[in-house]
Symmetry: C2
Subunit: 409 residues, 2 copies
């Protein structure tokens, strides 16, 4: 039997325990939804106040230069590069993940012009599937989306691009990024990775794996705030030929010379389009301070420990209550998330939220629990399962059953 006291001991011994102070967490909440919207890093409110009141309010237009606004997408990109195994100058923070994926998938037209197939998997996040379908329809290409486990066997000489999300948003299943990238290359295809559910919560080495293009989300494990700008990585070898389908002035070699003809910036700035959303971008920049001096290998170790503990407690205390584990059991095949299926999943998640344990629900029956190692403790995991036991034992979930379904969770 796993006791709460044991969890307290693990927290006391946790080398990352001090990172929790880098976040402003509301009292009475156990937050297991950092895979959807990361918690508020401590430095963000003051950074945003300065950006709004000092830089915008007092500096006005001068802040584009004086406060370094104009280069912020690249500077934030360089910070993210350090978290995903990319060198400076290959990542830019801008736009949304969907828009950056659009740019990346369209790049197949110029980087792999002789092939017409985009290979993804059926479990990919819907926006990824929508973007690919849109590009394919527009350019006479074909999208193939076998089951995730069949992707490796589906890479053939017709494939222009293998475009996958590393961690499945529903189950937390983790694709083998280096292996699939190698298979893609062996077949002469490009590899594009969506790191939305993996960046910031595990070591990623894009350059070592030889990944061609990657995108990711600023507001999940990177904690950049609601709708934080996303990022886009272009391998150095493709920078010269990477053609941004949306040719905007911030992707121009000299935006402020206002030339009539487009000439793409030489580096990854060519992936930019319009004026950066500065307030959202400044929040992301400040949020990344939470990663200062953090070794993502240690984050991954704790991530595995947290999810293993959660699964052990589920096995021990929720047996016979109708749950099945939807996530891979092997930690090496799992991101920082555990999902449980239950026919009353929606009502259960609502009842948990009511008690301060915030996970989320995905139809038809999936209860998702995300574990963000910088601000979660082992006792949080124990307490969360304890609340879940309570919700099940006393059928508290019946209270949540008839609650109106809300848009997001």
């Amino acid at each position: 039997v796993i006791t709460r006291a044991e969890c307290e001991e693990r927290d006391a011994a946790d080398p990352l325990a001090h990172l929790r102070e880098r976040f402003l967490l509301p009292p009475g909440v156990i937050y297991l939804d950092g895979n959807s919207l990361g918690a508020l890093p401590a430095g963000v409110p003051e950074r945003i106040r300065i950006t709004v009141e000092e830089q915008w309010g007092k500096g006005l237009i001068r802040s584009w230069n004086d406060a370094g606004w104009v280069d912020l997408p690249r500077r934030v990109g360089d910070r993210i590069a350090g978290l995903v195994g990319a060198r400076p100058g290959t990542v830019v923070a801008c736009d949304s993940t969907s828009i950056n994926l659009f740019k990346s998938v369209e790049a197949a037209l110029t980087l792999a012009p002789d092939r017409r197939v985009i290979l993804t998997d059926s479990g990919n996040f819907p926006t990824d599937l929508y973007v690919m379908a849109g590009v394919a329809a527009r350019h006479g290409m074909e999208v193939r989306s076998p089951a995730p486990e069949e992707v490796a066997g589906s890479i053939d000489g017709e494939v222009a691009m293998v475009a996958l999300t590393q961690v499945d948003y529903r189950t937390g299943r983790l694709h083998d990024l280096p292996e699939i990238t190698a298979l893609a290359h062996a077949a002469g295809a490009l590899s594009v990775w969506d790191l939305a559910h993996s960046a910031g919560v595990m070591p990623i080495d894009l350059e070592a794996a030889g990944v061609d293009l990657a995108v990711g989300c600023g507001y999940k494990y990177l904690n950049g705030g609601p709708g934080a700008p996303a990022f886009l990585y272009v391998a150095p070898r493709h920078l010269e030929r990477f053609h941004n389908p949306i040719q905007g002035w911030f992707g121009h070699v000299a935006p402020f010379e206002f030339r009539p003809d487009f000439e793409a910036a030489p580096g990854v700035d060519r992936a930019r389009v319009g004026t950066p959303h500065l307030l959202s971008l400044a929040a992301l920049d400040a949020a990344l301070d939470a990663f200062d001096d953090v070794d993502l290998r240690e984050v991954r170790v704790k991530s595995v420990d947290l999810t293993e503990l959660f699964l052990a407690l589920v096995d021990e205390r929720l047996d016979g209550m109708g749950f099945t584990v939807a996530s891979p059991r092997a930690p090496s095949r799992r991101g920082s998330q555990v999902s449980l299926r239950h026919p009353e999943g929606y009502a259960i998640v609502q009842a948990l939220i009511e008690r301060g344990v915030i996970g989320d629900f995905r139809a038809p029956d999936l209860c998702r629990f995300g574990f963000s190692p910088p601000y979660l403790r082992f006792v949080d995991v124990w307490d969360a399962v304890d609340e879940l036991v309570e919700v099940m034992a006393n059928e508290v979930w019946r209270d949540g059953r008839h609650r109106v379904r809300s848009a997001v969770t």
Copy 2:
């Protein structure tokens, strides 16, 4: 001779004078660059504080529903609709102007599939030209860009789309939106308007003019902050056939049902793509409070009065100092901006900024002065010209001559 006292009297009689209190303006600054980045509206800091500290920090993921984040792009869009003569449900606030223009120009493929020419003018803002060139190159279309005054005569039966910016960013020249729209329609072409330099500073009636599509900027006269989300208008008659080339989940009919296949939202939400940049969007929403109970016809009257006063003072006090007026003299052909050409323009603008009069410079010789009626006074115009006289008379501008050219201004 126009005296400062006369300007004070005009301020005392100005029915919009009270609007200045709706902004936080730094002391010692006369801000003539609201056409580039609008000043900080008074309600923004607190709104942003609430969004960051309360909604994100404490509400966390729940705020997508509880704080109404999910619908904010459309609610802000409806507020902007009221400023540009559009009905609710036809405008959405999202992404950047460049990206929204990309969506709009690509729409020619589905709304005017039999024609291959995009007609613009050579004075259009560079990002507009870049976006059109990119779309044209990708789809085998042709961009024609005659001089602005030759546009009307260039609309023929080959033109799919007439895509113009209403107010020229350099000179302030104002296109006749209703007339050109009517000419486009008479030739069977679509009309697309970029309202970046006109929205919020003059009455616009998109619906009365029958405009097909329009885009605009959130951070100029709408004062939404650096990189505020832009907006996009789709005429009700096109909503069903408007096809967003970037198919993302927020443009889906049911984003939170996570269906594998894309089905566009029935209304203008189909123009959305990814997760809204909430902090930037919340600032824009709060900024629009400055337009509560404001009649844009009165704003336009004051705008004309301010620019006429500026020109009269330039004529009176800067004669023989090497300036030429680059803006149209007739107020009906001019936006809320006056531009002066001078061979030492860069140094002159720098010297003015040094003295607290903030305009900006566009190569090779253009000094731009924008007049945002809600926060500018007639005495500000008088004082600005007085400083300009000083800068010229004592050759103070020589101080600014060797200053390093900065990126933006």
